[in-house]
Symmetry: D3
Subunit: 132 residues, 6 copies
């Protein structure tokens, strides 16, 4: 067994989910930003969010991504929303599904919430060459 | 063509969606509460929410119900949440899926939000004989 | 000058505004609930809210009542909303104006917010014999 | 009847309200940003927000602008707030009225909310040469 | 070693913290309400909230209780707030400290938020014979 | 008595607290930004927030700073949060205490809220040479 394999074998559920959801590069940047202050939050994100919750069956990852687009719109968190629009596309959501979810938030969270989230999603789609 | 058929034919998309989502009884109670003050909101709910948005394809109704459980948890609206947990069950969500969506909100909306929504959902499940 | 007159003359701006907005009975109940724990909040409400802000010119009291109906809907505070729907009626708002303000919140705060506020407002209107 | 006239005649209520509220230039920029992703939101904004709600009588447009300044402060939406401070000035609100509305939010939404909205409003007033 | 001792030794950190914070009776009621639907949330609360976070040093439990009174006021969660006012008193907060924290929220979260939290706290103080 | 002394003697409680909390430079910048539009908010901040509330005994200033870090995280106000992280450090909070408070918010306000606040706090710590 070589080193790379052993690394994979000891990887936590959370890191594996995060890698599959956001990709290698995201994880590499995230790890490079780890420091004595934010280590406790990074561990919390990996263990609790991605390990304990995203790692569960019951609803699939595409469903979790779709939920997050709606939740982060309701909570007015545009920074994390950007990450999860990217994760949603990685998880197989189409731009049309994202559009539909965001229109749905217009009715329930209000038009200003939906307007800001459309703008965030458009930026991601444009960066990926999926719009215009 | 008899009167009942003609009634059905002129029914708006919104009323049809609402009827399929919440059932006859819900619509009957809702109509009986209509008055000179809330008519404008009832029309808005039927035309905009259930006609213009829920009436669309792109994501299915079960998906819209699941979104609402998460959104209403984030927005702290326990009254409307109760209705949409009922709608979710009508739309084919299982208690296990609702449980999974609510656990997901614990991470993103915080534990107090999830705790209150679990309580609301438990009440609905118990009323329907799906719990205990 | 008799005692009653002298009482009126030393009354703070905040208490005078509160009396004019909510009526004698409201103030009497409020005073009877004053205790060693909430005194600091009651003083804050009278001095800061009703004295320092409501006591100002620039926008009139009916305008402040209308603002509060919208703000308390956005903030999801149905208890204080009830008081301010009553204050709005005392300040000369018509039921039709309140209806219009609440419909406006449906677009900006979302339908669940407006639905709960319509329900609160309907209760107040019914108590006053202004509905049904 | 020439083409310009016919254009005006078929314009929707929502576009007419939006034009009167925000001006030609705003509408031109908005239209140029329309794409396959956001078209559904732009239609929603025009039909539901500006057509169905802003297009109503009952409260005037200046009143709706004032409401939005308070609502968007409560909802913590500084981007849309900027647009509606501009709309408020277009609708005849004075800087002193806007100041008064924002001070009112300090009591109900909290000081941090009001502080951020004052900053947004100051930027707009400065751009229009109405401050400093 | 008797059974009681062995129970204590295998108890999770989360359950121990919860027991010390809220008391035996609270834990007994909580356990009796555990079912197939909410078990996942109860585990999350014990492991993540009370084990992983409350179980840490760095700030003491009285400080965590005080934080929660402020946070739950800001988040508008009156149900969980009631529990944490009780926890705060169990953790050594005095009614005067709770009063001071709640007055502080009046400035930052707005008066309606503080008003509702004062009411919740008064109810707890009255139940414990600490008020009136 | 010279002029400087007389200035100090007439300084309001609010300005004194603000000076001690945020430093001379902060107050100087703040005063330089005072204008005909924001004067009413600046007075409100000095008199109500820093004079009437921060000026009180009952809980100390370090406690008030810690509360604000949690409250501003819950309210999603990253601009004011930055100021109060600085104030917290001025008031004797250590980076480890700030870290602990922010981890606490992850459970109650949700991970996205904590993530954004960690980023704001890291920026302040880096500016002060307390991180990396």
């Amino acid at each position: 067994m070589n080193d790379a394999e052993s690394d994979i074998h000891v990887e936590s559920t959370g890191r594996r989910v995060l890698r599959e959801l956001m990709g290698e590069e995201y994880l590499r940047v995230k790890d490079s930003r780890r420091n004595d202050f934010n280590d406790v939050l990074q561990d919390y994100a990996e263990d609790v969010c991605f390990g304990r919750v995203w790692g569960r069956d019951g609803i699939d990852r595409k469903q979790r991504s779709i939920l997050n687009i709606a939740i982060l719109t309701a909570l007015n968190r545009t920074g994390p929303l950007k990450n999860h629009v990217e994760g949603a596309l990685n998880n197989g959501c189409t731009p049309d599904e994202i559009k539909e979810v965001l229109l749905h938030t217009a009715v329930y969270c209000g038009l200003p919430a939906a307007t800001e989230s459309f703008r965030v999603a458009e930026d991601v789609l444009r960066e990926r060459g999926l719009l215009e």
